[in-house]
């Protein structure tokens, strides 16, 4: 049996004591579970390999090609052999992409802050459904919106009538509070030790004070994960920006990416005209990378939180 990194297939026999002592730290096969046959192990290894390649290789390829030197892009290889940062220099000197990135950054920062704040306020208010008359009705009103939506045109007409067209607020206000995120946060708040909040109330602290000095500090984990989810949503905003923002100077990065990469508009427009033009393929791949990098940066944090069960715990509850 060849030894691989994959513990599952490292050929140990669960029943044999010697083999069991060899497994450290990592989870052990329960005694009653028979080890898989060699054929099954092989199938599993192949399956794991295929899944990993299919999921990861596209990213690797795009990143690779964005750094490919001009002579290395046209040969149809799995990975370029010579590298250059020319595409990035030309793009960031060109203006269009850097402005779109700044627009997206602004929308993401402001939107995430407001969404997280108002979601937390509503979620905390809705932890008082047992005490405040009418609060249960508000909860129902919020939950019902998960079942139906008003439809594309009525939403568009609303934003238009509010005078929000061509404004960043059109990308933030209509999606300010996600009912799902609110439910997750409320479930977390409900789980906070009630005695603590009650003690503060008896001491005469106002609800606002309790919220700011007790609830929020105790809820850092859920606030972080909800904020990350909102941030990902705002960074990825595409359709709303497409219909609400006509001014190309205000376009976020996803709309620009659609324009120049998916719809293949004249890609030379995004690069600095004073520089020798890098190959269009590199430029397109570099734009894809720039639109994705922020997500890749926050991904480890997201991963850290949802493995803690912040989300699944509240879904089950």
């Amino acid at each position: 049996m060849t030894s691989t990194d994959v513990r599952e297939v490292d050929g140990t026999t669960a029943g044999a004591p010697a083999a069991r002592t060899r497994r450290r730290r990592d989870a052990a096969r329960p005694v009653w579970q028979e080890p898989p046959s060699t054929a099954l192990k092989a199938v599993k290894v192949v399956f794991i390999a295929v899944v990993c390649v299919v999921m990861l290789y596209p990213f690797v390829y795009v990143i690779g090609m964005s750094f490919a030197a001009p002579e290395s892009v046209t040969s149809g290889q799995l990975f370029p052999t010579r590298f250059s940062t020319g595409a990035y220099q030309a793009i960031l000197g060109g203006g269009i992409i850097s402005r779109a990135l700044l627009n997206s950054l602004f929308i993401t920062v402001v939107g995430t802050f407001l969404s997280t704040l108002f979601t937390a306020l509503l979620a905390y208010g809705l932890t008082r459904t047992r005490f405040a008359p009418g609060a249960r009705g508000v909860l129902l009103m919020v939950l019902l919106t998960m079942l139906f939506g008003a439809g594309l045109i009525p939403n568009y007409l609303l934003v238009k009538n509010l005078g929000l067209l061509d404004s960043y607020w059109a990308l933030i206000l209509p999606v300010l509070i996600s009912p799902f995120n609110m439910v997750v946060m409320r479930a977390f708040f409900m789980g906070l030790p009630g005695e603590l909040l009650e003690a503060a109330r008896i001491d005469g602290a106002s609800e606002l004070r309790i919220f700011a000095t007790i609830v929020l500090p105790l809820s850092k984990a859920v606030i972080a994960v909800i904020a990350l989810f909102y941030a990902v949503g705002y960074w990825n905003v595409f359709f709303n920006a497409l219909i609400y923002i006509n001014d190309t100077d205000k376009w976020p990065i996803q709309v620009v990416l659609n324009q120049f990469v998916v719809q293949n508009s004249d890609i030379a427009n995004v690069t600095n005209p004073d520089m020798p033009p890098p190959p269009a393929v590199s430029v397109q791949n570099a734009v894809i990378v720039l639109a994705t990098v922020p997500i890749l940066c926050v991904y480890p944090f997201l991963q850290k939180y949802f493995t803690k069960g912040v989300l699944t715990g509240s879904i089950k509850g």
Partner: protein
């Protein structure tokens, strides 16, 4: 709280006293309860405003479906045309095409994209090593967080006309393969994209269901000689059933919403015949085409059917003995 109650209870601790309180004490008046919770209402206010303005007010905007609507005259100035817009829809072949495409894609997604995370979750569960499990999860969750624009761009770079696959095929003599622009295979393509993007994310909830199954069940089944396949079939899958049926209900309810951004992004490449779905029809007819009444009517029909679908799926799930969502 009242004097009669607390005096005899003077010796008792607070914890003993608490459960008897609601029965013994008269509830304070509604006014006093509201005043006492005035802070709560302050917390609720912005959220209530948001949901009323951005979720409930637009519901009223659906009256446009019964109007010959013009944005210049507005909802109050436009002429009422009764059911004319609905008649136009029934006669319009483009609606039929959008509906057919929507139903085919919805069918493919429920048959292939829905079970995919269940299978992946079962597979991950069959791995013993937590480290391997966690590494695979880290990899498969990732595409969920990438926008559709980026996903479509990346797929173009791999499978599109100037993409990797087509260049490799050219080297072995097969010219002009562009999977991303082939209308015949488009529905399979979009289903594959959905699986690629969300199969990992979907496993989270199924995996939580699997982990909640008590391991004694497996142990005693194994002692009785049940093979691992039989354990999966008779313990794991039944244990997952409540979650599976719940998600299936939710999926049926959103079946008519098939990847709006995904379709919109790729329609120019494959053409409307293959890629027009109900949502893109509403967009192109209404916002892009200015035929507001007809587009709203189509959206309204879709919304009503979706609500009926989710309610009836819920009822069926309850009849079959599972748990409903609502």
């Amino acid at each position: 709280m009242t004097v009669e109650h607390t005096l005899p209870a003077g010796q008792r601790t607070r914890a003993e006293e608490a459960p008897t309180e609601p029965a013994a004490v008269r509830r304070p008046s509604l006014r006093r309860r509201i005043l006492k919770e005035k802070w709560t209402y302050l917390f609720l206010l912005p959220g209530v405003l948001y949901f009323v303005v951005f979720h409930y007010v637009p519901l009223l905007g659906n009256v446009v479906a019964f109007q010959d609507f013009s944005p210049f005259r507005g909802i109050f100035g436009s002429d009422w045309v009764g059911l004319e817009n609905f008649r136009t829809i029934v006669r319009d072949p483009e609606v039929m095409r959008a509906l057919t495409n929507t139903l085919i894609i919805a069918f493919l997604q429920i048959v292939f994209a829905f079970p995919a995370p269940i299978i992946l979750a079962l597979f991950l569960n069959s791995l013993v090593s937590d480290r391997v499990k966690r590494s695979i999860q880290t990899i498969v969750y990732l595409p969920h967080f990438i926008s559709w624009v980026v996903v479509v761009s990346i797929w173009q770079k791999i499978l599109g006309g100037a993409g990797l696959v087509s260049e490799i095929l050219e080297r072995v003599g097969v010219e002009g393969v562009n999977i991303m622009a082939n209308p015949d295979t488009f529905k399979i393509l979009v289903t594959s994209q959905v699986i690629w993007k969300d199969v990992g994310w979907g496993t989270i909830i199924f995996f939580a269901a699997i982990v909640a199954i008590p391991s004694e069940l497996y142990e005693s089944a194994a002692t009785d000689g049940a093979s691992s396949w039989r354990r999966m079939w008779h313990i794991t899958l039944p244990g997952m059933m409540p979650v599976i049926s719940m998600l299936l209900i939710l999926n049926v309810g959103t079946a008519l919403t098939v990847g709006f951004e995904q379709m919109l992004l790729q329609q120019p490449a494959v053409g409307a015949d293959a890629a027009q779905v109900l949502d893109t029809f509403v967009y192109f007819r209404g916002i892009a085409g200015g035929d507001w009444g007809v587009a709203t009517a189509a959206g309204l029909i879709k919304g009503v059917i979706a609500t009926i679908l989710v309610l009836s799926a819920n009822k069926i799930a309850k009849k079959l003995g599972g748990e409903g969502v609502i």
